[in-house]
């Protein structure tokens, strides 16, 4: 951690901007590392990217307030808030600001914020659950009681109800409405006050206005029946309105909490403590945050690996299901890499720590997921932009109809304005999109498809052309080496094939390409490879072509496609799908592989084609072989023998027509192509580079995940359209009714609350089982 942060935490005591309850402990670099990813170089300026868990948000407009409060601070480079998941991602400069200041700024804006580490987030969820349940109960229980007290005035004939009894009933309703206003209405009033103070119109403003106007007018009518407010009381509609608001919010909170819990349970594999081996052979238990690169750690059988590192001994097997999608435990040898968050299945192992905290691959995946949750999709941003003008129009309509009615019939002017304010529900407008997308992402995560960008759902639902990588995507990720043939003058010498294989394997260990892995696996099967490896220098990997390195005598060796290994070699050997080993440009050995189609490839391809998606096979292999695979799957278009640039050009050409173009791939050589596609999907076992540029990751490694994604995307977009259509139709029909005075405030409250509840319930369908049913 940089010295700047340590220095900053020392001087934080004299900072003026401090809020109650924020401990400067959050400025401790160790503590920061738990929810912060560092960007930039080690020495000079580092940029922190921190996740915060927010509370107290009621509407999409709050995101703007919190973002504004954060970006107003010096040192904050950017802040992004997602209303649906209640998370914020802040980019900040630790040299110019402190985490405790950021938290204090959010609190001063009227919201809660804690670092997004699971424990405190869980505590916050529990507190929020209690508070919402409490407000829902106060609202709904008291609304029923107020309704009972209000019933006599509805059913009594003229003169049946004595004036003093009516007065007593009104008084009873007033008493019971006070807790509802205090507990249930206050959050809206506070929200409205905050947004007014910041000169921003939030969704709370018209709600609070309606509440205050209704309560004040009814109170006046209760205590002064002959006064300016008339004698009608509306405590029943007021309390019912608040109860409905909280019911909608309760449903939304449950959906959000469920999504958060799913994410946490999927990613909470990290242990709290680790067993560090000391030099004298003893073992001490330390917090995982205290581990440093270079430490030696013992991991008991059945425990999770605390950090990324290298094995110091043999291990029976490590389960990496979450990190790589590989469900079987992977046997590991001395010198192999083990990843944080994987489970040590068989016997205790010892390892040397290489990367800790936010730098580990596990944390990279966690960060990917968090980023997706705190991201506002383009469509939701549109809803935010619409919300402001929408509110002004509503306020203008309310004022206009009040003015008109004060001419026609002054006694009804107030109530018409109130019902116009209450009936308009922009919540449905700005709530539907994020709630639906988050619900869909939660449902997909359960099926092993992680979305790193919520926009992917929209693009995937409009997908027309899908480019599919062959190796590792349509075919099983592990090709099997079927032949190693030495060529050249020494070819006939016995044992030469084995020597060539071992030589190739020592070089292939530097790469994570499936072919390299197959060569290493085949060589290791014959005899264990030495731990240190051979003395290769200047090893480099050219994506899509192969590896090159120089040996101890300075001779260049290459391992890869024929064109790469033998630039001047015989042309007829080019692009035959085999991997060649060459010494100074002369072929030494040829390795050929067998590929197996994934078991679910055929039905997934057929299903996607039935959906009207045009599939194109992209492959670096020679055309004959790619053609063969395509024919077996029934794919008509094949672009074979192409390197990354050719793939990119093909994809760009397809995009020219304006169609939505997708790309599914796995390896290193796909990353630029994926970045260029409108929507990209990475298979879970692929290189991390490809995942980084992917919009979705199929962690399970099943191709069926593509069908799940498509089905869920189509359903999600249909639900979003339904919700938008519903709120538009609702407003279009109710606002005129309210303006001409046919809609009493209680019915307006019912309508608004019901519309919110309907939208949220509809959004929940996106995560339902039917959206994720298997292909039959």
């Amino acid at each position: 951690m940089s010295g700047a942060v340590v220095h900053a935490s020392v001087s934080s005591a004299e900072q003026p901007l401090r809020a109650e309850g924020i401990s400067p402990v959050v400025d401790d670099p160790l503590e920061l590392a738990r929810f912060t990813r560092w960007e930039g170089d080690e020495t000079a300026q580092r940029i922190g990217v921190s996740s915060l868990q927010l509370s107290g948000m009621h509407c999409a407009a709050c995101t703007g307030l919190i973002e504004g409060a954060l970006t107003a601070l010096p040192g904050v480079l950017g802040a992004r808030v997602n209303a649906a998941s209640q998370r914020a991602t802040v980019r900040w400069d630790p040299a110019r600001s402190r985490m405790s200041e950021l938290l204090a700024a959010v609190r001063q804006a009227g919201y809660g914020a804690v670092p997004d580490v699971a424990a405190s987030a869980r505590e916050q969820r529990r507190a929020e659950q209690r508070s919402v349940l409490w407000r829902l109960f106060v609202g709904s229980f008291l609304a029923m009681q107020v309704m009972m007290l209000a019933t006599p005035s509805y059913v009594a004939g003229p003169g049946d109800l004595a004036p003093d009894l009516a007065q007593l009933l009104n008084w009873g309703s007033w008493i019971l409405s006070i807790p509802v206003m205090g507990f249930g209405g206050m959050p809206f009033l506070r929200g409205a006050w905050e947004s007014l103070r910041r000169r921003r119109i939030g969704m709370d403003v018209p709600v609070a206005l309606g509440l205050v106007v209704t309560f004040v007018a009814s109170t006046g009518a209760t205590f002064d029946p002959g006064g300016i407010f008339g004698h009608e009381v509306y405590f029943d509609s007021l309390t019912m309105f608040i109860a409905f608001l909280w019911f909608g919010r309760w449903l939304e909170m449950r959906a959000r909490h469920r999504a958060a819990e799913e994410l946490e349970s999927a990613l909470a594999a990290m242990p709290e403590t680790a067993l560090r081996l000391l030099d004298d052979g003893s073992v001490e238990e330390v917090a995982v945050a205290r581990l440093r690169p270079g430490d030696r750690v013992r991991v008991p059988a059945g425990a999770a690996v605390p950090a990324d590192g290298v094995l110091l001994g043999e291990s029976g097997g490590v389960g990496e299901a979450l990190l790589t999608g590989e469900s079987e435990p992977v046997p590991k040898r001395r010198g192999d890499t083990v990843l944080a968050g994987s489970i040590n299945v068989v016997a205790p192992l010892e390892m040397r720590v290489e990367r800790v905290g936010a730098d580990t691959r596990h944390e990279a995946i966690v960060a990917l997921m968090r980023e997706a949750l705190s991201q506002r999709p383009a469509s939701a941003r549109l809803a935010d932009r619409v919300a402001g003008p929408f509110l002004w129009v509503v306020l203008a309509l309310a004022a206009g109809s009040a003015a008109a009615w004060s001419v026609i019939e002054p006694s009804r002017a107030l109530w018409v304005a109130v019902s116009v304010l209450i009936v308009t529900c922009p919540c449905a407008l700005s709530l539907s999109m994020p709630a639906t997308l988050v619900a869909a992402a939660g449902g997909l995560a359960r099926r092993g498809v992680l979305l790193s960008s919520l926009d992917a759902l929209q693009s995937f639902s409009q997908l027309r052309t899908l480019f599919v990588d062959k190796t590792g995507t349509l075919t099983a990720d592990r090709p099997v080496l079927c032949a190693a043939e030495p060529i050249g003058p020494d070819a006939e010498i016995a044992g030469e094939a084995d020597r060539a294989l071992r030589l190739a394997a020592s070089l292939a260990r530097w790469s994570s390409h499936p072919f390299s892995a197959a060569i290493v696996a085949a060589a290791a099967e014959a005899a264990p490879l030495p731990a240190g490896g051979d003395a290769w220098r200047d090893v480099r990997e050219e994506a899509g072509f192969g590896l090159s390195a120089t040996d101890a005598r300075g001779v260049e060796w290459r391992l890869g496609t024929a064109a790469w290994a033998m630039p001047t070699g015989p042309r007829d050997k080019l692009g035959d799908g085999a991997v060649w080993l060459s010494r100074a440009g002369r072929g030494v050995a040829r390795f050929s592989f067998d590929e197996q189609l994934r078991p679910d490839a055929q039905e997934t391809v057929r299903w996607l084609q039935a959906e009207g998606i045009r599939l194109t096979l992209l492959s670096g292999d020679r055309s004959g072989r790619a053609r063969q695979v395509a024919d077996r799957l029934g794919i008509a278009d094949v672009v074979a023998g192409s390197g990354p640039e050719d793939k990119l050009a093909t994809l760009r050409a397809a995009k020219v027509g304006g169609e939505v173009v997708g790309m599914v791939g796995d390896g290193l050589n796909d990353a630029p192509v994926m970045a260029a596609a409108d929507v990209s999907v990475a298979m879970g076992h692929g290189a991390l580079a490809a995942r980084r540029s992917a919009d979705a990751v199929i962690v399970s490694g099943r191709l069926e995940g593509l069908a799940d994604l498509r089905r869920s995307a189509v359903l999600t977009m249909r639900i979003v359209r339904q919700n938008l259509a519903w709120s538009a139709a609702y407003n279009a029909s109710c606002i005129p009714l309210a303006m001409i005075g046919w809609l009493p405030p209680w019915l307006a409250g019912l309508g608004m609350a019901a519309s919110s509840v309907l939208v949220i319930l509809n959004a929940q369908r996106a995560s339902s089982a039917s959206a994720n049913a298997r292909i039959d």
Binding site: R126, Q129, R130, L133, W134, F137, V138, F141, L142, Q145, L149, L165, L168, L169, G172, I175, L176, P179
Partner: protein
């Protein structure tokens, strides 16, 4: 009908008391995990704490 002048204020007070009791129940955590209370009779041993350690002992 005169009894209404007593009953209405009485019911208002009673309702507020009920709301108070519910508030105490919510904030003392009785609704945090409703399912677990139902499963409690099925557990072999009483749960000592909400820790993973408590579960491991049972296996």
């Amino acid at each position: 009908m005169d009894i209404l002048y007593l009953l209405i204020p009485l019911s208002a007070v009673l309702i507020l008391v009920i709301v108070g009791i519910f508030g105490w129940a919510v904030y003392s955590g009785q609704f945090d995990d409703v399912e677990r209370e139902g499963e409690r009779p099925l557990m072999d041993e009483p749960e000592a704490a909400d820790g993973p350690g408590a579960r491991q002992r049972g296996d």
